[in-house]
């Protein structure tokens, strides 16, 4: 990681409270282009809250967001997507009553004169899925309600690939998947980063994190306790930071 490179996103001292509960207390966070940045931490550590601020779903109380070095304010999902930020949520945020094409283009439908350009959208959706070597989906005109968990996840990730994004955030993409589907999704994640996109991966599975991530940033009780290189750390060390066994160490050269 050369020092001259500007991170795609950089958070400085962001804070967020819900009433008396301080969920994020002065968190710094960085994600670089072409890298998978894993964001890990126990339940309630503040991962989701951190991500929601970047996604424009729920803004921070204070702190600075730098996008490609420039200070930005992200007040709504529209702000986020116009910057090129795409989030794939754990609960997927797909609409069951719509088909795959409609879901992939939701909010950004293609229009020819005054009506929907269904043919072009269908073609793009199909070729995106094909590009991700998805073979389990027979028709892109299927309703999402008829898909399995893995297929839904694939559609959700394909949605983020379809739009040439600069930053893709994946919230536990493999939590509900079987072994082979997990493998396929992780390969998608790596491929996505290799195209030059900054990928933030939230996961509870440390093996998975170590396998696919370039850097690991660890949240504990609303504070960033470590920023490690995946190649220079190990499972035991990460778990110690998560549980608090390891002492506070930012930019943790002090790994075990």
């Amino acid at each position: 990681m050369s020092a001259a490179r500007v991170p795609v996103i950089e958070l400085k001292a962001v804070e967020k409270s819900f009433g008396a509960v301080e969920v994020l207390s002065g968190v710094n966070f960085v994600a670089m282009a072409g890298e998978v940045t894993a964001l890990v931490g126990d339940n309630g550590a503040g991962k989701s809250t951190l991500i929601k601020g970047i996604a424009g779903v729920q803004s921070y109380d204070s702190g600075t967001i730098l996008f490609e070095g420039k200070e930005v304010s992200i007040k709504s999902p529209v702000d986020a997507s116009s910057l090129g930020i795409e989030v794939v949520y754990q609960d997927l945020a797909l609409c069951d009553n719509l088909d795959i094409v409609q879901n992939m283009f939701l909010g950004r439908e293609m229009v020819r004169s005054i009506s929907l350009d269904d043919e072009t959208m269908e073609q793009k959706a199909a070729s995106t899925l094909k590009g991700l070597s998805v073979r389990t989906i027979s028709s892109v005109r299927q309703k999402v309600s008829s898909l399995s968990g893995g297929q839904r996840q694939t559609v959700a990730i394909a949605r983020s690939v379809l739009w040439e994004n600069k930053l893709v955030i994946l919230d536990e993409p493999t939590a509900a998947l079987g072994v082979s589907q997990t493998k396929q999704v992780l390969k998608m994640v790596r491929d996505l980063a290799d195209t030059g996109v900054a990928v933030i991966l939230i996961s509870h599975n440390m093996q998975e994190v170590l396998a696919v991530a370039d850097s690991v940033q660890i949240l504990r009780l609303g504070q960033m306790v470590a920023n490690l290189k995946a190649s220079e750390t190990n499972l035991h060390s990460i778990v110690s930071y998560i549980t608090g066994a390891e002492s506070l160490s930012i930019n943790g050269e002090a790994a075990l």
Binding site: V78, V87, C95, D96, E119, A126, S139
Partner: protein, 403 residues
Amino acid sequence: MSEELSFKEEGKVFFNNIRHGRMGALPAIIGFFVLVVLFSFLSPVFFTSLNFANLLQQSAPLIILAMGLVFILLVAEIDLSAGVTSGLVSAIFVVTLKNLGIPWWLAVMLALLVGVGIGLVIGIMVSKVGIPSFVVTLAAFLAFQGLQLMVIGQGGLYRIESPEILSLENGNLSVAFGWALAVFLVGFVLLSGLISRKRRRKNGHANRTISVLYFQVAMTALVVFSSVYFLSLHRGSNPEVQIQGVPVAVLVVLVVLIPSSYLLNRTPFGIHVYAVGGNPEGARRAGINVGKLRIIIFMIGSGLASISGLMAASRVGTVDASAGRTVVLSGVAAAVVGGVSLFGGRGRLTDAVIGGLVIAVIDNGLGLLSLPSGLNLAVTGAVLLMAATADALSRKHGTLTGR
């Protein structure tokens, strides 16, 4: 890409959908035909050209009201005040027409503007203030009845003196126009189907087997041509007076239905409506302005209720302080009977047409049998409950199978 299914396999998919409770408007269509056959046996007057035209005119205000409700139900909201909005708007229309001395079309514009304005207020209350639509429209339901009384005046009764408005529910199209309309409708179904197939083939997408399209066209042609033929027969009791042709009310319904269906099926707005009904949070995260969309939906709903109010006024020929009271919740009933889900995200505008026809047929048929007047409300209630049961069960089935 999926392989093309044969006609037989398409049939299998169709029955499979029914078995899994995804029936759409099918129960209502079957119900409609069963009721028509039943009443034809019970009453000699029912299956006549005169009564058929009458039935269509009777159902038109209800269908338009129900189309407004389809929009609202699709985003999983409710409008209890649609019926009284239609009454209030018709009252404002007659009073302005009579007292301000303005031309009829200006009075119509003014009335519709009030209607859309009502929707705007309801929409803001629901989506910006955050009051459940049930409560907002219940308040409107009460308040508008009072407003209507104030507009009309105690015991007031206004006669509609605009022949243009009266012809909406009492006029007939010429026989030639009726046939032209029929040819246009059938041709439209056939051509739009063929064009879409051609475009899909050009882009290398799979098409459904052509027999499905032919089947659709044949069914449309059968219904449309036989209806127009029937309506083109002389139906006056006095041989001196020629009464024949498709009622103007049918044209009004089509003029509302076609652009609204286009809006719902072929534009991003339409997809957003279904998305908000299916998963509001998902829609929001996809960047859809859910609040604004809800407001627009209530404006469309109240706007259509206003058109329905003008149609109802045209049918009766007068407006009094209780106009609109008879259709209070029939709009909701018609939409739900037609197969629109009360839980949002599922339903079409044509469901409102079918549901409206079913409710009108119950009203019309039981009326002809001169049974106690309470019976038709009780039957309508029972039909609504059956439709809502089907909706709830199909949803429950969906959750159980994780779909």
